[in-house]
Symmetry: D3
Subunit: 320 residues, 6 copies
Amino acid sequence: MFVDLPESELRQYRSSQADPADFDAFWRDTLASSRRHALGVAVEPVDTGLQTVDVFDMTFAGYEGQPVRAWLRVPHAATGPLATIVQFQGYGGGRARATEDLLWASAGYAHLLVDTRGQGSTWGGGDTPDPEGSGPQGPGFMTRGIDSRETYYYRRVFTDAVRAIEAARSLEVVDSDRIVVLGGSQGGGISLAVAGLVDGLAGVFPRVPFLCDFPRSTTITDSDPYKEIGRFLATHRHKAEAAHGVLAYFDGVNFAKRASARAWFTTALMDPVCPPSTVFGAYNEYAGPKEITVWPYNGHEGGGAYDDEATLRILADLFA
Amino acid sequence: MFVDLPESELRQYRSSQADPADFDAFWRDTLASSRRHALGVAVEPVDTGLQTVDVFDMTFAGYEGQPVRAWLRVPHAATGPLATIVQFQGYGGGRARATEDLLWASAGYAHLLVDTRGQGSTWGGGDTPDPEGSGPQGPGFMTRGIDSRETYYYRRVFTDAVRAIEAARSLEVVDSDRIVVLGGSQGGGISLAVAGLVDGLAGVFPRVPFLCDFPRSTTITDSDPYKEIGRFLATHRHKAEAAHGVLAYFDGVNFAKRASARAWFTTALMDPVCPPSTVFGAYNEYAGPKEITVWPYNGHEGGGAYDDEATLRILADLFA
Amino acid sequence: MFVDLPESELRQYRSSQADPADFDAFWRDTLASSRRHALGVAVEPVDTGLQTVDVFDMTFAGYEGQPVRAWLRVPHAATGPLATIVQFQGYGGGRARATEDLLWASAGYAHLLVDTRGQGSTWGGGDTPDPEGSGPQGPGFMTRGIDSRETYYYRRVFTDAVRAIEAARSLEVVDSDRIVVLGGSQGGGISLAVAGLVDGLAGVFPRVPFLCDFPRSTTITDSDPYKEIGRFLATHRHKAEAAHGVLAYFDGVNFAKRASARAWFTTALMDPVCPPSTVFGAYNEYAGPKEITVWPYNGHEGGGAYDDEATLRILADLFA
Amino acid sequence: MFVDLPESELRQYRSSQADPADFDAFWRDTLASSRRHALGVAVEPVDTGLQTVDVFDMTFAGYEGQPVRAWLRVPHAATGPLATIVQFQGYGGGRARATEDLLWASAGYAHLLVDTRGQGSTWGGGDTPDPEGSGPQGPGFMTRGIDSRETYYYRRVFTDAVRAIEAARSLEVVDSDRIVVLGGSQGGGISLAVAGLVDGLAGVFPRVPFLCDFPRSTTITDSDPYKEIGRFLATHRHKAEAAHGVLAYFDGVNFAKRASARAWFTTALMDPVCPPSTVFGAYNEYAGPKEITVWPYNGHEGGGAYDDEATLRILADLFA
Amino acid sequence: MFVDLPESELRQYRSSQADPADFDAFWRDTLASSRRHALGVAVEPVDTGLQTVDVFDMTFAGYEGQPVRAWLRVPHAATGPLATIVQFQGYGGGRARATEDLLWASAGYAHLLVDTRGQGSTWGGGDTPDPEGSGPQGPGFMTRGIDSRETYYYRRVFTDAVRAIEAARSLEVVDSDRIVVLGGSQGGGISLAVAGLVDGLAGVFPRVPFLCDFPRSTTITDSDPYKEIGRFLATHRHKAEAAHGVLAYFDGVNFAKRASARAWFTTALMDPVCPPSTVFGAYNEYAGPKEITVWPYNGHEGGGAYDDEATLRILADLFA
Amino acid sequence: MFVDLPESELRQYRSSQADPADFDAFWRDTLASSRRHALGVAVEPVDTGLQTVDVFDMTFAGYEGQPVRAWLRVPHAATGPLATIVQFQGYGGGRARATEDLLWASAGYAHLLVDTRGQGSTWGGGDTPDPEGSGPQGPGFMTRGIDSRETYYYRRVFTDAVRAIEAARSLEVVDSDRIVVLGGSQGGGISLAVAGLVDGLAGVFPRVPFLCDFPRSTTITDSDPYKEIGRFLATHRHKAEAAHGVLAYFDGVNFAKRASARAWFTTALMDPVCPPSTVFGAYNEYAGPKEITVWPYNGHEGGGAYDDEATLRILADLFA
């Protein structure tokens, strides 16, 4: 069933999320601090048994120089520079096994699939630790470090993601001017953060993006992971205002206002996990050229392989 | 939690499934009848946008000449003859989109991913109709045509599968002596049927196979799709004996007794969908050389990508 | 809880379902084709052990002459012509056992309880096959043959139902001018189709009718069987428009526009299976004299025996 | 799935329920006390609109003279004396509407369908109050008055049931020597109690009987209504021994030991509500001639209409 | 997720509950009748092993003189007169064990925790019987005696509660002018009834109160215990109007109109058990000075210990 | 329903958990390292408004000197030395609010309720951070740092607990020779660890203890939190052996072997969270004097207030 506003109202909906005055300063300082560490990119070939795709185990220095793992996949023996897809994962997942996710490299692109620190134990195993501790937090990652914007978990994740772009750009096989970022759910939310923090991207593909419009998303659904925040605040009843003050620095709505790259969003009208109004909350603020695909009968799976095929066509046009 | 017998008892367990006296005659006649129709293999290239893998939309004549669809994927510009993987799908799924499932072709094999007639509307869309009607049946495919062995749905599916091997063998790109069959869940059940009905296979990979040990599987779990049979018999209380009489002709236990190709099974101790005793029911009867991987902490997802990686290593050895 | 619009809005609600230009031609041709087959009515007495009611196992030629089963029940030794109730069953059920559903015959009426082809394996066993195959379909009957209006499952079901009236009218015990049609849920939807396709009915009793207002019913509830369509379209994402184009030929809203017999609807405000707005979607279009009973605290069970008692009173008046 | 012991063990299983030394004295005194009140049978014809069955609203004096309601149904204008079925209802239900349950009268029998005091608000509305209060009790009827055998709810219910037989025997239309008692679930449990307390019954039909083998039934299932007792004891932790001491006076196992009439039990191997071992707990103690039908694929619905048809055949033989 | 109207609409919402003309007469007569019985207060010390709090097992004559149990807790060796908290329990619970709920006495108050008759078998065991029987009722207490306002269960409960205040006032340790009533959920509903029926209270603390705004609460949620009424009316379809006629005499909305004591309500925006609109339905009618705390991220647990701490502060001010 | 072995088998059951050769060395080194940091006990009075109990906000140096929070509660103005209860919390909870849990201080004991680091966001809010990061982990705390025994979360928690005893012993109000440890579920597991690591305890009260018998507890239940480990291993399929190697250092079974203080266990036969065999797995190894209370009809709530009352009686005897 449709879980949210009618589509006509979705297209008019405006998020109530505030835009913190020092949002840009916070992120500028955050990134500057991490950039003091060398990128430290290491790329090791993996013996996968594949013949048409080469896979590399890549490590780079993310937040405050902490190592982040990714798979780099390219067409066999490709030298580049190639148009490149940097992909971020959905909540709970990691970069998974080296032999998975062969689509983008098979289509002739360089493909960097980046771990989300600490995650990757629910599906698609991850290999990247999150070396930072936390105040009291609920199960999951949504409230890790939520006591301050400095300690909040996604400060590290988004910094890792920005550094992932910079690491990609450092590779010979990558054409720095032809990088797009892509991801579904949490990966879509990270893509929006990257779109708001990194210049010169060729495109952004936030699919059924998560991490958007917290004032609404924390109150409109009982699905995890947004509900993790609600459960935390149900226990820590005195922290609601402070928590939302922190979340404003990590909301896709605010990153969307600062983005300039061309974007292709998707959303699904039966998605209780990332309800469409929260996606439109970011989409309607998105400052760059944009399109959105609305899947009427889908839930959080969104367009699935149909989205992949559409992206292949868009990329072919984009890089023609 | 472990859903079935302890592993030590699993390894001793013997299914009570009967071996119908005319089992072989039934299948010989069934296949002979369908073989009167020309194979009618058609292979059309698909414009996927992929560069390292070529995908073909393949049609061949299955049961009684009825058309069955499959994707044929090969490394770009491969001419063969290649070692080949013929794969069957899990319950409810179809061959899905042309751009999915690139692993086997990327590893240098020809890969034929065959539709299951009528299915492919629950996940991984299918494109093959099932032109046969049915007596009263429950939702799903488990009781379609269950009134007789002649009309039972899986008679058509297994015939399609045998014909898929024959269609593969008709292709220049395929090395007829180096074909393995592989599938998970229903695809594992179909693989067992093929192993029992087709000679000269190089290997069989039934993963968490379904369609095994019906006397036990219809009474030991409340999970679909086995439960479809139970619900049908809860309504049609007078048909239980007859239905089991039909099912004996389609039970992986009976196909296993007739198989000779080397086999690598997998099963999972927390799998309520295809409980491990029903897998061992087939495995313990399997007449060819065999191994089984037991995943202790997994459910019906079994080994997932870990199974794929193991299969890649086995195939590399097998075809070295 | 109330699952839909407030009652005042329900009474104003108008469905958005389109009225296909060739709707009447489609059904005229469909029925004409099937009418080329003889009705072939066979009526066999059943040895039930009952003393006050005689039960007959009736067969007649439905869609394209295919045999359809029904129970004919009459007061013991009745010769007629009797006022007659033709009843259709809810989703998943069949005509059930000969000794069930004695109410209407005990009240002095002829009662024809018609199987729904292929169904009757979930409850109330059925005995009528559906000899037609289907393209890829989801579990259940809602998407069987949905690829075209010609192959859609309910084309056959509704034709069977029209032929059931004609078969009833061919019986001596039936008074052709005093036939009412009745059914709950799917039986209500079939009753509406009959009301739109057959002249001269004395009354129509669509109770909590299903198969109404597909544009809304496929998006307003997650309950089966409407949800079967949603799941199909979630997989076959490119077929939504075509499927709705087909469904328009089978929507109770469109049959209601063409009905003329007096009708007594029922609906329930807590019914998530056939939400009341979808019932009002048909009711508000119904072209004949009409009443509707609204049960505030009931779900899909609607009025149950209270509806039966009301119908007994209405029939007594109608046929006084 | 099978929810209990294998059938071979079921047939050997013996309940651990104790047989209180003063069980017979308790029930003799209980019945004697209520028999001091006149039976006070009142039988009022109901205007149902039915033509083949006459329905009467019957009231009689149950426990301590408190009025109990029942429907008496007979073939139209029958004068008797007729073989008679006295039926008790499942948990939560009442005698329902006058126009329901026409089977037995349509088969030529007198049919007395007795309310269960206080019940009939969950399904099949009831009309009989339970004028007695209770100590603290959980939702439902299982722990009402459980503080002593004198105040326990089923003391009143079973006394009502015994008085129902006596009331039936007082009617001209009833043949006192040809009375059978029948009921499903709670109705089966009441039937067993009647079988243990009343002489001269022609037959007993406990279908999937409830109220049996409390030491096992309160610990082997999480389904209501047995679980009502478990929840009560989870709160009133100090009352477990006392409660079981009370329940021993109301256990079908103990009534079965005292029964002499011929009995036809049914049970279902997938019934989590009245698990088959608890039914066999009573069946294996049953002192009269006995048979049991085991439905392998059914849950608590048991044999449904199949059981009815079997009962019709048994009754025809019995009263031939 | 938010389960009800936005907070701005909640503050404007007005219940549609009717105000029966003889509401005051009904309650005046009800209380007068019970007051003909002596209060019969008995207070027995309990040997708890506690050193800082003395606990007494108190009994008093409630409705029509029937005994009601409560715990009286005071600071060790307190002689009073003390400011006093009379507390009523949530649905299903009783006064629990003597050693629980030490907060209020530890804060220096007399604390009377009153059983709810018949309840206390779901959690927090109770010791008070409900000696009155009932017509047919559903599981639970919501429909016990609902056939008339005279027999309705809460007539007895609210009378018990009024008598509890009178019993408290009869104690030397209690300061009759400094009594507040407090309770969560059902305890909040009882508190509102007391506020409408008793003069001279120092304060009222209805937390997430139940038993409010029946026209809305019985139709806006599927959660028990409100749903108990809906299920009853789903079976007894003809009793809806009568039942609501009875409920109007027991609705917190109507008691709120008659209250004068200062009140501190709480409600939670994610509470499906006592949805916030039904709380505001009472709050917005409340005739005395009032405040309400709205917990945005909580369900039926409301403010929990945060509410306790706020109450401690309010009481300290109130009795400073 | 009973969820595990019959009680007679429980009493014979022996866990298969291994006893690592360097278990004692590991813990000796662990504790020695943390003891290099000063205990740093700080005790601040809290203004709670309570009159009979004084509450102090206590901080002490736990694992590697990291600060841990606790509530210290004593009878008002108590000077000691008092017999003392050190309590640890169940999974997900923290020390909660200062005004909660007044029982033990009201009974005349000093009561130290210790936070579990990082927890306290699911219920009973906590105030203690866990400053250590982790490799990839699943939601919750069970797999935090599970990659090695050095980094495993419970190494820090158990060290905090040992230091809590030492901190308690440093207080004047505490009688160092009369300390008991108590806790339910996780708190019971921590109590067992303390019993194995600390000498001179007067008693141990592990109620329905968690963290026991990992080889069995990770495979016998699907309930969290044990299932957290299963889900982790379902993803990280290659880490099962290593993870169990780590867990052996934290298993209550192994601590039980090393304990000497008198112990009172409780367990519940219907507890799916900490199934009774896993409790008996520790109990049957417990090396000190021991008793166990078995609650037959309870789940994970165990004895609740009944356990508290029993403990009060035991403590009164113990410290008489």
